[in-house]
Symmetry: C2
Subunit: 378 residues, 2 copies
């Protein structure tokens, strides 16, 4: 339950990087029954900037989305996109990837920015280490992430009790508003790279700080799938079962089901939108690359028996033509289908969980789903 | 009245170049109350090709648009896009601009292609001469266009009476179907460049052939606006008042009203979709370039008092952000507004004509509308 509505779990969050889920309108998101979207703090901080979003009364109003929004802390993009990063105990100094302007984000500033965005769920600032990562660096980094989490939590608590004050350039008015009139939830992030003991220690330390929910970060950063699963398995037993648990930045449809089997409740992933722009559609049998010549005369929908509007109205052949001709409608249609596929997979998972048949469903789905490289002609 | 429905005039036809009005879905076109769309025969002939569209049962089914479609003859794009053109009395040989494949289009083949597309209104093949153009060339070309029109008409008549036969590579089955089970209308095209006497002669000769409607082609090809108006004025008196009259490929909102004042009923133009992709929106006061920094904090809709969904839901500031961030939703929103603007202008024109107040409306609109270069800060 968030200020802007209820989120049923397991939940998939379409990614609205720059204040828009790529190619899709808020109305289409509502029609897809998306219950929550993710906003990228780093991207929005860089462009259009906080002043603009504050002027419009927060991200919900700016993008005309009245459902729940989760914002990440910005950390992941600082580590993956920004230039000339300098990480200290205090925070991260960086140059943004758009105009190279210097900026500094600390745990406190990450909280202020997310408060200004007015998201329903904020994430504590963490350091996401790359893969592979040395044990010592991973250990020190995870400890710093815990100290940063503590500072984020302190900001949230101080705001709630009215004690917060700051000299930050971004000001704290919006932050106070977000936390008092509409209670912004705060999730902590577990790190620890691929090391079982570090994952456990990180999970315990973060849970000790008592957040509204817990995320597992630093997964799906290039490590083999087995390592990814082990990273989640190592942390999960230490996360309370009565709080939402969020596996960040993943994954393929089978990975999502495997994560649900391992106790995860929330997901975000760019795959359905990003692959759509490349002409790739998800089906229960695996992905289809609609650019392929074999689809030129194919009158079938992207996926037979799919209940989405796109599959009811358009053929593979037409969509292939649009993609080949670089017509925007092509990527729009595949994006709509792919988001429907992900959201529907979560609906199926919820109903199978309720009926106590989830494990069987997961096993059958995973067996039927062909990994991309192994896909044969449909 | 066409096979797929009634078209109220004056009518604006959104341009669906490659089987899609750029950025827009058929459902959005219906919601915009677009009554007819234009399909570009040349583009569809080159890609996906006739075999594909025939396989899907024609353009309506292929693109999932069940309203009327007008197809051009392909001539204009052959003259503006294709390479190595060779024009003879027989037809035009060219290399397409996509893969350079050689092709030949004659009046007969243009009719077959449009029959295969299954449009509600087909256009006779014409030669559209460039601006400026020598008098002698314009005269000879207009005469050839008349002979070509006669051949197009002969095909349509032969099909109607069941006498048509051809050895063309494209086959005539689709053509026969289009003309017998669903009567495809055929419009003739008046040419004559900027020469008053040639326009008159062309109009008379084309009207003598007795088409279902008449188009004025070779306008808005780079000539000054005054010349364009004169081209239409020179031809119009010779076009029957009880048949639709179509001014091809134009224009700005004031130009459309001026054309309506000069007796024109139908229009097609890429401006609302093309300018949208560049961040430019139409308003009754002129165009707005939403990329401009002045709109960053602007909470107003694109146009105040506009009844379109975009203006009810989104601010200039948000749309500016989307365009600057190169988000597809930005050009989608402006495209929707711009098409609404054009279609609504036609609705207003129809109602003013019915009330007998069109001239006053036109004068006021033209006076209020600032040409692009003269636009000041809104």
């Amino acid at each position: 339950m968030t200020t802007h509505g209820v989120v049923d779990t397991p939940a998939f969050m379409p990614v609205g990087t720059q204040g828009s889920v790529k190619g899709i309108s808020p109305r289409e998101l509502r029609e897809l029954n998306a219950q929550i979207v993710l906003g990228n703090t780093y991207h929005l901080f860089v462009r259009p900037g906080l002043d603009v979003i504050k002027h419009f009364g927060g991200l919900h109003r700016f993008m005309n989305w009245d459902g729940p929004i989760l914002t990440d802390s910005g950390g992941y993009q600082i580590f993956s996109l920004a230039k000339l990063r300098k990480i200290t105990e205090d925070g991260v100094e960086f140059q943004n990837h758009i105009d190279g302007a210097r900026a500094f984000i600390s745990p406190e500033i990450a909280m202020e920015i997310q408060a200004a965005l007015g998201s329903d769920i904020a994430m504590a600032l963490d350091e996401c280490v790359p893969y592979p990562c040395e044990y010592d660096y991973a250990a020190q980094s995870a400890e710093m992430t815990t100290r940063w989490a503590k500072r984020c939590k302190a900001v949230a608590s101080a705001v709630l009790s009215g004690e917060f004050s700051t000299r930050s350039p971004h000001g704290s008015d919006a932050l106070r508003t977000a936390h008092t009139t509409t209670r912004q939830l705060l999730f902590g992030v577990v790190q620890g790279a691929t090391f079982e003991d570090l994952r456990k220690q990180s999970a315990q330390a973060i849970v000790d700080l008592d957040f509204d929910g817990y995320a597992i970060g630093g997964v799906s950063v290039g490590e083999p799938e087995q390592e990814m699963m082990r990273g989640v398995e190592s942390a999960e037993p230490f996360l309370p079962r009565d709080k939402p648990r969020y596996a960040m930045g993943l994954g393929t449809p089978p990975q999502l089901l495997e994560m649900i089997a391992r106790g995860m409740d929330m997901f975000d992933c760019v795959l359905p939108t990003r692959l759509a722009r490349n002409g790739t559609a998800f089906t229960a049998r695996g992905t289809l690359n609609l650019k392929n010549a074999e689809f030129a005369l194919d009158k079938r929908p992207i996926e037979e028996n799919c209940s989405c509007d796109v599959c009811r109205e358009f053929s593979r052949g037409y969509i292939r033509h649009l993609i080949k001709a670089e017509e925007i409608l092509g990527l729009r249609l595949i994006t709509l289908h792919n988001l429907h596929f992900y959201l529907n997979l979560m609906r199926q998972a919820r109903s199978e969980i309720e009926r106590g048949t989830f494990d069987q469903f997961r096993r059958m789905f995973v067996a039927e789903y062909k990994p991309r490289d192994a896909m044969t002609v449909e």
